[in-house]
Amino acid sequence: MGDCIDGVTRQFWDQTVNGLTTGSIYAMIALGYTMVYGVLQLINFAHSEVFMVSTVVALHALKEWFGVTAALHGATLIVVFLGVLLASALASGVTALTIERFAYRPLRRRGAPRLSFLISAIGASLAIQYLFSLMDGRHYLLFYRLPNLMGPSPRQVPRFVESERLFTIFGTPVTNKHLLVVGVSLVMLFLLDRFVNRTRIGRGIRAVAQDPEAASMMGVNIDRVVVTTFFIGGVMAGAAGLLFVVYLNAAANWPIGFLPGIKAFSAAVLGGIGNIRGAMLGGVLLGLAEKHGGACFGTQWETAISFVVLVLVLMFRPSGLLGEQVRS
């Protein structure tokens, strides 16, 4: 126990910076899970592939469209970053819409049981993963040679953001990448919060989440709300994908969505699935729990610790931190 306290104390600021950064990414992905659940009471297990698509598009955009081969600076960096952010977010948004259109809407129209949605979600997830795994320039879909987006091995996303120390907090260096991830996340989470709480379509989303039948009778277009929800969730996951590869200098790869996806799903449940602010809080808390837990028990336990925290929270508060209490 003494080692644990020592570890957490000595690495407190290091792990807080690390946890806030990764937690911000989890929070952005978690929004997609929680928004879709809020509207459809459905866990979109293909959401991790929505995240994956953005990393591949970011790689393609940086290499092919912007011709980036080295770190960028100043206005060029800002323009390229915003351009890639737009491309990644849109690609993920469109992917989410496609999943909704082909994997869920036909089932919704037929009033299929919940289990069918779950199976369809898993099927969509696998189909997208394997489609991308075949995009190495050697495989065909019908008579169409699939583009070489993935290559025979994971491709390094160009290091276009050079890491620079901006300041220190109690000796812990805080870099431009930390600020970029946390800053972009905060801005997007704030915009989403305003959108859902202050706009007409946002009111529609909340209405459908509360009582879809009543919302429909009051003139809310359910299909439009569902499509908007998927698109926004996809856009947030797309932005998270770009931040993930920038922060870790990660290689784009078709299985890349699995672990961040499952952790973000846990974050959504931790915060109270269906609750947007809960997903944000759950993401950040999960990130912090992972990192501080690693400092306490050893880094190899990092992931296990985050899930233990999740289990403990659910044991004592099954609806999650900000979710509504379950009525008997």
């Binding site: 690495q11 290091d14 990764t22 879909l141 025979p152 091995s153 990448k177 992931t303």
Partner: protein, 415 residues
């Protein structure tokens, strides 16, 4: 409205086409022709390993070199067989390997396997080949325990991790001499034993072990770049000035990169799993200064031939390329000896290859590009496993890009 049935039919055909495309791949390049028009026996050799996936930088050079050798044999006048070299792509995963190996073993034309390339997949598939009576020759799987499986048909043409780890520990203790060492591994069957062997040897040598941890979800297993931030904080907190990493390039590369970003100044030392072009790409400038060792001479004369033959498809760090060329040559010679001795069926050729491999001796070895090869009669390890076969490298900035500078073999470096 009722959807027309033909749409359903088209959809089903599309699915079949997709599956067909998925299974199709590139067949491994084929085996050349029959230039002299004589009656050759068609045989197939499978190369098992990470043809694709994150770790293929460690495997493709040896497979590409094997293809070069098989093409040469196919073009050789009077050679009695046409060898088709097929891909058995496991992506380096022990979990994915069994069905791939089963497919190779059930191919009636299979006479030998080059591989498995990694130790984990070797453990997962060795029984399959051994039970089928198919000789399998690995040019890169270095797990120390592989010989303990007592597979009659298994042969290894490189050194193993037992000697690698003791040499790494001596290198750390006698040459690098850090004040304290952090042990990091990827929790795989390859990385963890290697790192723990170095830990034990370093402890014996009086080096302080500042800490030790494993990566619970390494990229070699998940395909996802690891977030090393908390491990880096742990290492910084431990005060270590060197890290021994037991694992593969897809993890050591991002570790170096993220450590540099976090301003962690440590010396990375790693084994053959990190000796690849992927390390240089994934770590970027942070790779400079990394110290590596492997039972492979990547600056030997054969590498020039490899680069010339493979061209743009080649890897700047041609790890195990000469070993792959030699393994293919060894198999090819075995096929020739078997057929010249009267073997006609694949089963007889398999037996003939094994007899040829077993018949190699110190006085009459197979003379390869990397080394002369004969096998220990009991273990089927190299008969002359020696420190001279291990090479040490440092990543340096070359004229155009990062490259590996050969520091010499173990005898030269360690004395």
């Amino acid at each position: 409205m009722q959807k027309p049935r033909w749409l359903t039919l088209v959809a089903i055909l599309g699915v079949f086409a997709l599956v067909g495309a998925a299974c199709n791949g590139d067949g491994g390049g084929g085996g050349g022709g029959t230039p002299d028009g004589d009656e050759r026996i068609e045989v197939t050799v499978y190369g098992q390993g990470a043809w694709t996936g994150g770790a293929n930088g460690l495997v493709l050079p040896s497979m590409q070199s094997a293809q070069i050798r098989f093409d040469e044999l196919n073009a050789e006048e009077g050679y009695p067989a046409t060898i088709t070299f097929e891909q058995a792509d496991t992506q380096g995963s022990g979990d994915a390997a069994p069905p791939v190996a089963q497919g190779a073993a059930e191919d009636p034309n299979t006479v030998a396997i080059m591989g498995p390339a990694f130790s984990g997949e070797s453990r997962a598939t060795g029984d399959t080949y051994n039970d089928a009576g198919i000789p399998f020759v690995t040019a890169s799987a270095t797990g120390e325990d592989l010989a303990d499986f007592d597979w009659d048909f298994w042969y290894r043409t490189v050194g193993h991790d037992g000697l690698q780890s003791s040499l790494a520990a001596r290198w750390v203790a006698e040459v690098i001499q850090p004040e304290s060492l952090f042990i990091l591994h990827d929790t795989t069957d390859y990385g963890q034993p290697l790192a723990e062997s170095v830990e034990a040897a370093a402890t014996d040598a009086g080096i302080t072990i500042a800490g030790k941890t494993g990566i619970p979800e390494p990229a070699i297993n998940t395909g996802v770049t690891v977030d090393f931030s908390s491990i880096i904080s742990d290492i910084a907190d431990s005060g270590a000035d060197a890290v021994f990493f037991g694992g593969y390039d897809v993890d050591s590369g991002p570790f170096l990169d993220q450590a540099a970003t976090a301003e962690l100044d440590v010396q990375l030392i790693s084994g053959d799993g990190s000796v690849s072009s992927s390390l240089l790409e994934l770590a970027g400038p942070a790779a400079e200064g990394a110290l590596l060792l492997a039972p492979s001479n990547i600056s030997a004369g054969f590498v020039e031939k490899y680069q010339a033959e493979v061209g743009g498809e080649g890897f700047s760090v041609a790890i195990y390329s000469a070993e792959g060329y030699d393994a293919a040559g060894l198999i090819g010679e075995g096929i020739k000896v078997a057929i010249d001795g009267g073997a006609e069926t694949p089963e007889d050729i398999r037996t003939g290859i094994k007899e040829y491999l077993d018949g190699l001796t110190e006085d009459a070895p197979f003379e390869g590009e990397a080394k002369s090869i004969f096998f220990d009669a009991d273990t089927h390890e190299l008969g002359h496993e020696a420190e001279e076969l291990y090479y040490f490298y440092e990543v340096v900035q070359g004229d155009e890009a990062l490259e590996l500078q050969n520091l010499g073999n173990a005898v030269e470096v360690l004395g």
